[in-house]
């Protein structure tokens, strides 16, 4: 499985990277494409995604099911099986390109330089090994230390993420932990090698709201302590608003809007972002009489609509003639630091937001 495939290196971005060179950002993803050939057709789960992230900053990736957000995170970690996924584009992590790198080189970075927290901490931990064993394993694969040293480190980490009596709990199995404690243990495991990039894929979706608050606090505190770069993948706009510096809204495998958290919540420019904001009931506002849902359902990735993928659900597509149904909008910088992929003219978008959307939120 760990065999190198020379063709991958050539087809991948090795040659491209030569022309553009290493970026200055800590993490830069350029035109990432992750396609899965299936019997029903090519599933373009991620189709041309670009973003950057600096140390100590948090990027929130927001999207619904099938938007490609989780596929992206697995792609950065190099966890897609090259036999059933075509990955192209560039992923630069601290000066190293990962898409064209050998599987073994990427593996060595996984867990050490970049780590991941998953959604369901129960199914994400091996049921047959103790929590401590799993942390020790993560630590020892990258650090040449004895078992007892690694064990001490595991106890340390468990204490650091707020697990009471870590010296005892270290020998417990995952099923003996509560949901919140399990997610803390998962975080301890992810942080055991002091990674510089932490990807959290819906880290609190399976948790209760009071526990979610604890975990979000913990992630925030740990980020301050470790100065890690964090990618927070979620469908919950509230979580993103609390934690992120920048936001990337994904729809059908592509970026719909990419902006600072302030712009994204206070001056969003994409009808899909408007729709998301209008869909959720909010505790911080007067109760609205009615929610403003987006009509229809997220598209199947095998049959992505022609033109703008969002057009069948968009209330404003007719303002563009038939452009939305025929031509795919490119992601452009509409305002400084605010990118959006939509055919509507900027002025029109600002007007709609101010007059139609914002008052109803």
């Amino acid at each position: 499985m760990a065999r190198k495939d020379p063709a991958e290196l050539v087809n991948g971005s090795a040659e491209q990277s030569g022309t553009r060179g290493a970026p200055s950002a800590f993490l830069e993803v350029r035109d990432l494409k992750i396609h899965f050939p299936t019997d029903d057709g090519l599933v373009k789960s991620v189709d041309g995604l670009s973003f950057q992230l600096e140390r100590g900053r948090t990027l929130g990736i927001v999207g619904e099911s099938g938007s490609g957000k989780s596929v992206t995170s697995l792609g950065i970690l190099g966890l897609h099986n090259k036999r059933n996924a075509n990955v192209s584009g560039e992923i630069w992590l601290d000066g190293t390109e990962l898409v064209g790198a050998s599987q073994n080189d990427v593996r060595r970075l996984r867990g050490r330089k970049m780590a991941m927290i998953f959604q369901d901490p129960l199914s994400s931990m091996h049921p047959f090994y103790t929590v401590g064993h799993q942390i020790v394993e993560a630590y020892r694969v990258h650090n040449d230390v004895s078992k007892s040293v690694a064990r001490k480190h595991a106890v340390d980490m468990l204490g650091r993420v707020g697990i009471p009596r870590p010296d005892r709990r270290v020998d417990d199995y995952p099923h003996q932990f509560s949901g919140g404690m399990r997610q803390r243990a998962m975080i301890a495991m992810a942080l055991s090698c002091d990674p510089e990039l932490l990807i959290a894929d819906e880290p609190t979706t399976a948790l209760d709201v009071t526990v979610q608050a604890q975990i979000l606090d913990l992630i925030r505190d740990l980020q301050e302590e470790f100065n890690s770069a964090i990618i927070m993948i979620t469908h919950d706009l509230g979580v993103v608003a609390e934690l992120s510096d920048d936001i990337l809204v994904m729809y059908a495998g592509r970026c719909a809007e990419y902006a600072s958290v302030d712009d994204a919540f206070h001056r969003p420019l994409h009808p899909y972002t408007w729709g998301l904001l209008g869909s959720m009931p909010r505790l911080d506002r007067e109760r609205s009489e009615r929610l403003m849902p987006i009509k229809g359902t997220p598209p199947s990735l095998i049959n992505v609509p022609q033109g703008c993928a969002f057009n069948p659900r968009c209330a404003y597509r007719d303002l563009n003639g038939d452009k939305s149904t025929t031509e795919r909008p490119e992601l452009v910088e509409a305002e400084p630091g605010h990118q959006v992929a939509c055919h509507l003219p900027l002025e029109k978008k600002r007007e709609i937001w101010e007059s139609e959307i914002r008052p109803k939120l």
Binding site: R108, G111, F118, S123, H126, F128, H175, M189
Partner: protein, 332 residues
């Protein structure tokens, strides 16, 4: 855990009682219903042309005319404390566990079983070692190389293995490997003193069937396990692929296979009937088969009880092992 084991043991005893009662009923009541009299049974025991007095003595000695529940009770009692038979001229003591005497050969059934069990053991254990190693390895490789030529070929052969009965592969291999090509000597195994490698052909034939089964099971299990979230986590930690597969993947895959293995080996230890018949090996299966063919009730009962005992024990061991392997079972 102790309560669990005790409860399972009590359950096992209960199960054995039921099995013995059912077997007793089948081999005792059904022939009676079909018109076989106690004279006929005694006649089988006495040999050719017995006189009436001999028959009566035999019936009296074995209690053939007692009510069936009484006979069943005696049968059970003999297993627990042994029995003493009075032939008129001498008293024969049959120590516990006494399963009675064969109608045909007049031998103690217990002794016959003790004689033959090692032979069946050798067949089963040898084949089991083979099939577990071969079956699981092929299953794992197939799963990891899903869709490749290797996978397809292996699964094709496995399908054949599952479909072909041992008497077919056995007779075929006897005909070619032994008789035509003279690659291996005749299968000749009658006890522990014989060279166990004489059993190589039965091992291979029996293992072929089971290995095919296990390869398919392992492959399916492995494919499922490798899609589990914790495997993704193991990879995300940066573990080398072989650790992911063999430590995280295989352990979870093998746990359910352990259950199947327990049942299979339990079943085989009670007599690998087809294999023994095909290769003419005098194991427990042959014993049971001969017993049935000759309506030799004590032998059939004994063989059935031993087979049931093995299955029940194997089940018990598997259940306990499950607790050892899977901490979730242990703590529940």
């Amino acid at each position: 855990m102790v309560a669990f084991i005790v409860r399972r043991l009590l359950g096992a005893v209960g199960l054995l009682l039921i099995i013995s009662a059912v077997t007793f009923a089948i081999f005792f009541l059904v022939p009676r219903a079909a018109g076989v009299t106690s004279d006929d049974i005694a006649g089988r025991f006495a040999g050719k042309q017995p006189d009436a007095a001999t028959l009566a003595a035999i019936k009296d000695r074995f209690g053939f005319d007692d009510p069936v529940p009484v006979q069943y009770g005696k049968f059970l009692k003999a297993i627990v404390v042994g029995d003493t038979y009075d032939t008129g001229t001498e008293k024969i003591h049959c120590p516990a566990p006494c399963l009675g005497y064969s109608f045909r050969t007049n031998q103690s059934v217990t002794d016959q079983i003790v004689d033959r069990a090692p032979i069946t053991f050798m067949i089963a254990i040898g084949a089991a070692v083979l099939w577990v190693i071969v079956g699981v390895s092929i299953g794992v490789l197939s799963a990891l190389r899903r869709g490749t030529i290797f996978d397809r070929a292996a699964m094709g052969i496995a399908l054949a293995g599952v479909s072909l009965p041992v008497f077919f592969t056995g007779l075929l291999s006897l005909a070619f490997v032994v008789h035509r090509w003279n690659l291996l000597p005749e299968v000749n195994y009658e006890g522990l003193s014989d060279n166990p490698f004489n059993l190589i052909l039965p091992w291979i034939c029996l293992a072929f069937l089971y290995a095919a089964l296990y390869a398919r099971l392992t492959r399916a299990g492995m494919l499922e396990t490798m899609n589990e979230d914790y495997i993704r986590t193991a990879r995300a930690k940066g573990l080398p692929e072989k650790t992911v597969v063999f430590k995280h993947g295989l352990r979870a895959t093998l746990t359910p296979i352990m259950t199947v293995f327990g049942l299979d080996i339990g079943l085989l230890l009670g007599g690998a009937i087809i294999t023994e018949k095909t290769f003419s090996i005098p194991g427990l299966g042959q014993l049971a088969l001969d017993g049935v063919n000759q309506s030799d009730l004590p032998v059939v009962l004994g063989a059935t009880m031993v087979a049931a005992l093995f299955i029940v024990l194997a089940n018990l061991v598997v259940d306990i092992l499950y607790g050892v392997v899977d901490p979730r079972v242990r703590h529940s």
